[in-house]
């Protein structure tokens, strides 16, 4: 029953937020709930690594190594996002018509919906949880209530719900395939066991509907257009949740399907995943060079990484699967760190424009360093964590003889690397324009909770690239077994 405690904690915090309380109290409750959920998740995950799957309700709720990794990532990123929100929302409270308690209630409910996804054994219920993630985050995207924020929220709602509706037909077709094979167990493991007897055309159509439908939510091209808009308009801690974990947790559902549909050689699941993955990585790499908004820059980087992870999973084999899971973890921590850094820069400068921010390092050593470290880390520079996991995936790709796919992946990563660094380099070290108004340079001290969360969030970004604790390695290896076939 301890599994239920993890979503119950943020749910409790959401209920508390429904009553009028001081902003500081709500921020503290949200942070403590997230911290307790993280501690519980890590304890459960270590248990899963040693003793195998933990079942709370047979056929409905359980946790294996793969979902345990997701649970830990969601709760850990949420804890830091809650801490960052504490400083960020109190600093921007006057700029919005909504009271902070609306923010904290939505924040916690959104986290609950994300936590439900890896806990669900039944794909249909996972679909409902995915749909809830959209519904419960619409007002987080629209929180600033500006024309831009409402436009972004509308686009986010339309595209992701349209995708989710396509996906529900995909799950129905999958159920049809299972019934055609005279099977009964509609769970991830049940489908995997029975997949080889299912008709290949049904599996392929079901998989494609889910890949394209949920691909919209993940940010796969061509249905990625909501992602940069939502990330440029939403408050930075919400961007950390959207980019760091929401996209990942929906991608998890697609990754769960891959071993099922690959059971039948007649289904071209890997090919479809590679096509969508490579196109997303490539298009995002070029868009990174063009954008004028530094929050959009990191949003396009998410599109690039989601494409990378999908392609990595499609390459197949145990090493690529290990690299995929490790990349999921590293991306979640690094991307959320990038959005905290972007949030700090926004609080300091009041502008999202790349061209409006120059010589950042001289005005704020902390914000400038954080932005530079974030950009280097997410672009894949050594010795940061993303570099290590990308290297594992590329090695695995070449080892399996996937030269074209792996070569294209490497090329797109290099393009994205230079695009990212050229933009951030100008922001951090560029010379301020002579015509810049002095009022644009605000005397501003970053709120203490934001500073603390920036510093703590930097630790995994670097540490996971340098050391790999044995229990974490064990958990990742077991999770990779669940992904590979």
């Amino acid at each position: 029953m301890i599994l239920f405690l993890v979503p119950a904690l943020p749910l409790l915090a959401a209920i508390v937020a429904a009553f009028p309380r001081s902003d500081r109290y709500l921020a503290l409750v949200t942070f403590i709930a997230a911290l307790c959920a993280t501690t519980t998740s890590f304890a459960i995950a270590m248990g899963v690594a040693q003793r195998g799957t933990l079942t709370a309700l047979p056929h409905w709720v359980a946790l294996d190594a793969l979902s345990a990794v997701l649970l830990c990532v969601i709760t850990a990123v949420t804890t830091l996002a809650a801490l960052f929100s504490w400083g960020y929302i109190s600093s921007t409270a006057n700029a919005t018509v909504f009271p902070p308690r609306i923010y904290y209630a939505n924040f916690n409910l959104f986290v609950v919906s994300m936590l439900l996804i890896p806990l669900m054994l039944e794909p249909g219920l996972a679909w409902i949880a995915v749909e809830l993630t959209t519904l419960l985050s619409i007002f987080l995207v629209a929180f600033e209530n500006t024309r831009g924020a409402l436009e972004a929220a509308w686009k986010y709602m339309t595209i992701t719900l349209l995708g989710a509706t396509m996906a529900v037909l995909g799950f129905l077709v999958l159920f049809w395939a299972m019934k055609a094979a005279h099977a009964d167990d509609f769970t991830w493991s049940g489908l995997r066991a029975q997949a080889s007897a299912m008709p290949a055309p049904l599996l392929e159509v079901g998989f494609l509907l889910i890949l394209v439908g949920f691909g919209a939510k993940v940010g796969l091209v061509p249905l990625h257009t909501w992602l940069p808009d939502a990330h440029s308009q939403a408050p930075s801690p919400v961007c950390a949740l959207l980019s760091g974990i929401e996209t990942t947790v929906v991608l998890y559902v697609i990754l769960r399907l891959l071993p099922i549909v690959r059971a039948t050689p007649l289904v071209h699941a890997s090919l479809w995943a590679i096509i969508f993955g490579l196109i997303s990585t490539g298009v995002a790499a070029f868009l990174i060079m063009q954008t004028h908004d530094y929050k959009r820059l990191f949003a396009f980087s998410t599109v690039e990484h989601m494409g990378f992870i999908l392609t990595a999973a499609a390459i197949g084999g145990s090493l690529a699967a290990y690299g995929t899971i490790w990349q999921i973890v590293n991306h979640a921590f690094t991307k959320s760190f990038c959005f905290y850094a972007a949030g700090a820069v926004l609080l300091l400068t009041g502008s999202r424009e790349v061209s409006a921010v120059r010589g950042l390092i001289e005005r704020s050593r902390l914000s400038g360093t954080a932005l530079l470290v974030g950009a280097l880390a997410i672009a894949g520079a050594p010795p940061f964590a993303v570099f290590s996991s990308e290297l594992v995936v590329l090695r695995a790709g070449f080892a399996r003889g996937e030269y074209v796919t792996t070569g294209m992946l490497a090329l797109f990563i290099v393009i994205a690397f230079f695009g990212m660094l050229s933009q951030v380099n100008r922001m951090v070290f560029g010379t301020p324009s002579a015509t810049a108004s002095p009022s644009a340079v605000r005397a501003y001290a970053l709120p203490l909770p934001c500073t603390i969360s920036l510093v703590i969030a930097a630790i995994p970004v670097l540490a996971l690239g340098l050391i790999m604790p044995h229990p974490v390695h064990e958990l990742l290896a077991q999770a990779a077994l669940g992904l590979s076939r």
Partner: protein, 226 residues
């Protein structure tokens, strides 16, 4: 109900379902789109009851009952309460395509649905209750997606998404009548919640921007990969 009468009634309901899908695409007033959506939802509930009566599957009756309460009743109530009445009365909704061309495109989409689904029914060979449900359902899904694309007004776009769900579940009652819980749960809780939240968002758009025309939401366009 004899199986022959049931099958004939089901085909009649499927024809009406498809007709209302086309009607939603060409309607010139928001109220017209909403009325067509209500009628389409009634056809979905009717098809669930008809197939339930032929097969004696209680799940289909449950789905029909939940649909009947949720879609034709709750959704119009929620939307008309949240979104100002003037929005529903506006005439000549903006289209990105001439309605006559839209009808042709819709017919083509139905043809595509037929061509895609027919081979699937052949390979499934077994527990499918009514192949026509799958074809019309998939067609409804495509037509709903088309409606979301061509409409430039908030409520018709939302109703396009809900029409896609109608299409998915119309196919679902045929190919997966005993689908565990998801359809009932989704229709009972998820869809009214969706209508409520999107209704609130539409009202916020109306208050902040002064219109519910999504065509005017273009301030965030920036880069293009090409």
């Amino acid at each position: 109900m004899s199986s022959q009468t049931g099958a004939a009634l089901n085909v009649l309901l499927l024809g009406a379902f498809l007709f209302f899908a086309y009607r939603m695409i060409v309607a010139r007033q928001v109220r017209g789109v909403l009325t067509a959506f209500v009628a389409q939802s009634l056809c979905l509930a009717g098809s669930a009851f008809t197939l339930g009566a032929s097969t004696h599957l209680w799940e289909l009756f449950a789905l029909g009952a939940v649909t009947l309460v949720s879609k034709p009743i709750l959704i119009p109530i929620v939307l008309t309460r949240l979104v100002p009445g003037a929005v529903y009365e506006r005439r000549e909704l903006p289209h990105t395509m001439d309605p006559r061309l839209s009808l042709l495109a819709s017919a083509a989409l139905s043809g595509i649905a037929y061509l895609v689904i027919l081979p699937l029914i052949a390979v499934a060979a077994g527990p499918t209750l009514g192949g026509a449900n799958v074809v019309v359902g998939f067609s409804g899904l495509l037509l709903g997606a088309y409606q979301v694309t061509i409409r430039r007004e908030a409520i018709p776009q939302l109703l396009g998404i809900l029409a896609m769900e109608n299409g998915a579940f119309l196919a679902g009652i045929s190919i997966a009548p005993d689908f565990p819980l998801i359809a009932e749960l989704a229709i009972a809780f998820d869809i009214p919640l969706l209508a409520f939240i999107v209704g609130l968002l539409t009202r916020a758009l109306h208050e902040q921007i002064g219109t519910t025309e999504t065509a005017s939401l273009t301030s965030l366009r920036e880069e293009s990969p090409w």
